[in-house]
Subunit: 687 residues, 2 copies
């Protein structure tokens, strides 16, 4: 057993009664969810360090957006100084290094999401992009970013009128052989790069994606360029640029998202990231890829590390939200038979509202932890020039997995935070409950790094390709859809259970999901073919297959992935954790299947009353089985009280004492308003 | 035809192409949705007045919470001065007066929800409560509130540890016959009254609900008392009170929600609102009701006007949200076959994501308008001492209707605003899109004035009573559940349609809803009886029937109500609006039924593929039919551009020009950060 004494014990109090009924040790579960002792230690080290640093003390009132930007930038500088990333970590293997970066990102994100986004974009994603898209001549930028922290970067891709569709971006970088420079230009405001994190106030350089035009007038498609934006010494923007801040947003106001327009702005030829293609001094384009569209794919592929990071952050957000709501539910009493008030946690409706999300938090965490490990190993091998079987097929499969999982995790988390807020009633609406900030800061994840609805479609593309070729075998090196070769047989399956016990079994859940995937693929494929046969273009045909089909397919595939990856991990657990993990996995599986009952009936997997009745009864039974575990489960999911920063979710469970302290101690809470003279009636009558 | 020239015409521009395809005149639809020409004029008058008043100019950056409170209070004072409520309105009939108040509330709410809440609570609900709970001796308070605006009131009901369960509130008002005073006391912080709007900084009086204790020690249950809190001349709180502001919230930060603890605080005997019960000078309790619980019901019934107001505000919020998203969808182009980008509105998936909410906005508006009229007529008759058939049965039915409809409308609106934000992509995340503020300000409506989950249960109670007595007739003066007497026959119905046309019919939708209600009642009743027969208490049995049953039942009933009320109104339309209204109603009905397919399959109404296939095909057909109408529909739903206050939703449709203006004109958007010296590296190397 690992020594987990670095994790502080939880204070004894009103939550003890629910903690004492758990079947497992919460610190062991915490370690299992983290997946690595050293990384867990690193996370606690970061949290403890930031807790002691006054700069990171949570403000009791939301500062102005400008002040949030200032504090966030100061925090970023401070984190640079802490050097949580040691030299050893940096020099270790790619996968070890990246996992350390991911852990640092997650730990910082949970304290202030704005600062982690700024750090991720401005330092890690940029330096990674230099390595993968650039060549030795860009090493100076790399060094200045990662070592000296003189560069803070940004990514300029999205344009005002073009978000998801990168092909039609209008910013150009035309090569001028006379001066050996690229001339970057923005034709109009619609082509202004926007939403660029770090650009509004702080970044010194931006990684610009622009259409590369050679002197012969040929457009070679989007390419990446390192473009200096501000003087690092003065933070003045350079002439030839119109740079502005996007202004106030719904959340993450510590990030200075910006827009930029280029007015015939010149950069050296060498600033083109030229790993995959280059322009000679004379202006001749030389590429190692034949098709520009493929090149674009290679350039953008880089962003998928960002999507994995978003999923890890989502795991953290959903964990925090359920921790707050469950601890509140365990200490808040209301109604009851006669005057015996009972904790909200005792209500079946309340369990049902929350336990699905608790189980999702655990299942997602295990899934992403395992998935990230596989992903990083493949990238590492490939970087090292080692042979990876079916590398390009694996890359496609991973892309499909990321494309459906990022939507699933971010949407589920958004729903979870909302449900948790509602489950905490009015008190959940207090800023100091922290559910509002969790939500508003999480909100953009469903849109950025690929809008969820658009991204989902990409997973569907891959799945349909696999379905169409299933007879002759699938290209699924990770094995997620090998079952498709048995598609015909699977579709013969019928629901035949008679007792809830038969449903509360991962095997049942997996096989039902396989049926669902086969049926949805069959339906989507048929619809698509039927649209094409009506003379619709591929684009139109695809558009007409989204609702109820493509979209659902992508969602179901993501849920299935979470279940099979988590199931494999649970199977490998040899500690006392297996029973509780299995309960959580079954809960998640059944709760997710509940959303797809219509398809199970429509497709003839079941008919009549038994499937819905048994499935829903099983879910409620799982709620009852999870009740004695759930407080300890959220203890394992929750960060420290400092990080959780919620008056309703403190680990001591002293709900009303904490609430009184927060309300009485609010800034000026009991003072007369300073503006009272402006609002009283001048001559009120005596009442 | 009414002269609608007071409604400004819409500017010509990019939206023209979609406006020209509508089958109707948008101003006529606007009038129809408002339901009354004079009220529509009043609304525009208010909007135009506030647009000209600099105090109401929307800030470009969210002010501090304290500043929001100050501005809101100043706005409230200004609105008092405008006297939108004329003397004629005030002297007209109860129902006319109340509808005028409702219109003023809605018009003000759409400009600043905080100020309308402060006004509604502090002036209208309080003065109404004085009339219904008080007697002539309280007229001085009434006068000071409604005429002189010297009193600003609040409602102190919720306690820190007791929100939904009012029975167990702990604040006491003990009568002291020696001084002829009530001594109000708060035993501990858990009993502090909290979330009291206006109490934090501004109110002069509070309407306190406290347990009335007579000198013999008897607790007579909750009663209402008028309690002075602040000196109107100085806004100083009185000694004996601990009053504080609740601090920052997720939204509506212009409202100064407060908490209060009473330390043996004395108020005159006459401040008891004594319409239903009084305490004599000697301390003898005299009641016209026999049971304290009934009295509580009478006292709280007063709040249902508040719930109707919330539903009206929800109608406004959902209308604004869909107007923003639809106008954006009509002007934002993305993807397309080859390089021909098409508006988002052309995508079936995008239509499906939004059109259900557009139709909900219209159906809800018509439903609530009709319902409010019926409700007010009944109250008016009853107040006037006229005989109302089955008054107490009508009150019960209305209470059931409100209890399920407030959850339906507020939740649907919450979902709608979220979907609209996502449908506007990243730009929807800008504060100046206004979807974030719409959402955060709407958010508490699902919790206050009766938590949605708790409130829903009350509709279920009434429905089950009707079901149980259906054989001998139902108590449904409004006729919403008279069909239950045919319950057995209805449950024999089977789905037998073969073409989508058969489903796109209000008759089909209504009869399917009736089947659903009968089936859910049967299931819920059976489950309840089975729990009771196992020896569970009524309370426990009810708890075990919520998930999948009671909760669903209440939701389905609310949807059914919206459909039948709207259907009746549409049937009475003799203008050219009937076709579009019918499309919207059918869309809403089918889109809502889609959520209940599982129950339709489970209960045997249908089996196999046809129901789900036809229903979903019909929904997509309705999307296509609504596309040419939808921009004009949202023109009818939307308020003026000043009120909508969204850079993405302006009626001129000049999306990118408006966006450029907003971004370039943001406060300090292109300035160097004032804090740049704090964040630059002291000695950066030249790059």
């Amino acid at each position: 057993m690992a020594d987990l004494s670095f994790i502080p014990d939880l204070p004894s109090g009103p939550l003890d009664c629910y903690r004492s009924t758990a079947s497992f040790d919460w610190k062991q579960l915490k370690l299992s969810l983290e997946g690595d002792l050293d990384l867990l230690k690193l996370k606690y080290k970061i949290w403890k360090t930031l807790e002691k640093d006054l700069l990171f003390a949570p403000p009791s009132v939301t500062p102005s957006v400008e002040e949030q930007k200032r504090i966030t930038q100061l925090q970023l500088k401070k984190i640079n100084n802490y050097k949580f990333m040691t030299y050893e970590m940096f020099k270790s293997s790619y996968s070890k290094r990246t996992r350390a970066i991911m852990t640092i990102n997650e730990a910082v994100q949970s304290v202030n999401p704005s600062v982690s986004v700024k750090m991720a974009i401005g330092i890690y994603l940029f330096s990674n992009a230099l390595l993968s898209l650039g060549t030795e001549r860009h090493y100076k930028f790399f060094e200045a970013t990662i070592w000296n922290r003189e560069i803070l970067a940004s990514f300029a891709l999205t344009e005002v009128a073009h978000g998801s569709d990168a092909r039609l971006m209008c910013t150009t970088a035309s090569y001028d052989p006379k001066s050996r420079e690229f001339v970057v230009h923005t034709p109009d405001f619609k082509a202004a790069k926007c939403w660029v994190g770090n650009l509004g106030r702080t970044c010194t350089h931006t990684l610009l994606f622009a259409q590369l035009i050679t002197p012969d007038g040929t457009n070679h498609g989007l390419h990446g360029f390192v473009v200096p934006v501000r003087d690092p010494a003065t933070l003045e923007t350079y002439p030839g640029l119109v740079v502005g801040d996007m202004g106030e947003k719904i959340g993450v106001n510590g990030i200075d998202n910006g827009f930029i327009m280029f007015n015939q702005y010149r950069i050296p030829r060498e600033n083109l990231l030229n790993r995959t293609a280059d322009v000679t001094e004379d202006g001749v384009y030389e590429s190692s890829f034949s098709e520009p569209s493929k090149m674009l794919g290679a350039a953008l592929e880089n962003l998928s590390a960002g999507r994995i990071g978003i999923m890890q952050e989502s795991c953290h957000t959903i964990s925090s939200a359920v921790a707050i709501a469950i601890r509140y539910a365990a200490t808040r009493r209301q109604f009851g038979a006669k005057d015996d008030e009972i904790p909200l946690l005792e209500y079946e409706l309340h369990q049902w509202r929350l336990f699905g999300y608790v189980s999702a938090a655990v299942v997602f965490r295990i899934y992403i932890e395992k998935f990230a490990r596989i992903y990083l190993n493949i990238v590492e091998k490939s970087n090292a020039g080692l042979k990876v079987d079916n590398l390009s097929a694996a890359v496609s499969e991973i892309h499909a997995m990321v494309s459906c999982s990022k939507p699933l995790l971010t949407w589920t988390t958004l729903d979870a935070v909302q449900q948790c807020r509602e489950a905490c009633g009015g008190h959940g609406y207090l800023k100091c409950a922290n559910l509002g900030d969790l939500r508003c800061n999480h909100e953009p994840t469903v849109t950025y790094e690929g809008d969820n609805n658009v991204l989902s479609q990409q997973a569907g593309n891959w799945l349909l390709r696999q379905y169409e070729q299933a007879a002759s075998g699938v290209d699924s090196p990770l094995g997620t859809v090998t079952f498709l070769t048995r598609c015909q047989d699977i579709l013969e399956d019928k629901f035949s259970c008679e007792r809830t016990e038969q449903l509360k079994d991962v095997k049942f859940i997996k096989s039902t999901y396989q049926w669902l995937l086969c049926w949805l693929l069959k339906e989507t494929h048929q619809q698509y073919e039927s649209e094409v046969s009506k003379g619709q273009s591929k684009f139109e045909a695809k558009s007409k297959c989204q609702v109820y089909r493509w979209k659902t397919l992508s969602r179901v595939y993501a849920e299935y992935l979470a279940i099979i990856f988590c199931s494999e991990s649970v199977g490998q657990e040899d500690t006392g954790l297996r029973p509780v993990l299995n309960k959580l996995l079954v809960m998640y599986g059944l709760w997710s299947l509940d959303q797809h009952l219509v398809e199970l009936y429509q497709g003839g997997f079941a008919s009549g009353d038994s499937l819905a009745r048994l499935l829903r009864a099983a879910i409620l039974e799982m709620c009852a089985q999870l009740k004695p575990e759930v407080v300890s489960v959220v203890d394992a999911l929750a960060p420290t009280d400092f990080v959780l920063n919620s008056v309703l979710g403190k680990s001591d469970g002293n709900l009303y004492q904490n609430l009184q302290k927060a309300l009485f101690g609010g800034p000026g809470a009991m003072e007369r308003a300073s503006w009272w003279r402006e609002v009283v009636n001048s001559a009120p009558s005596k009442l």
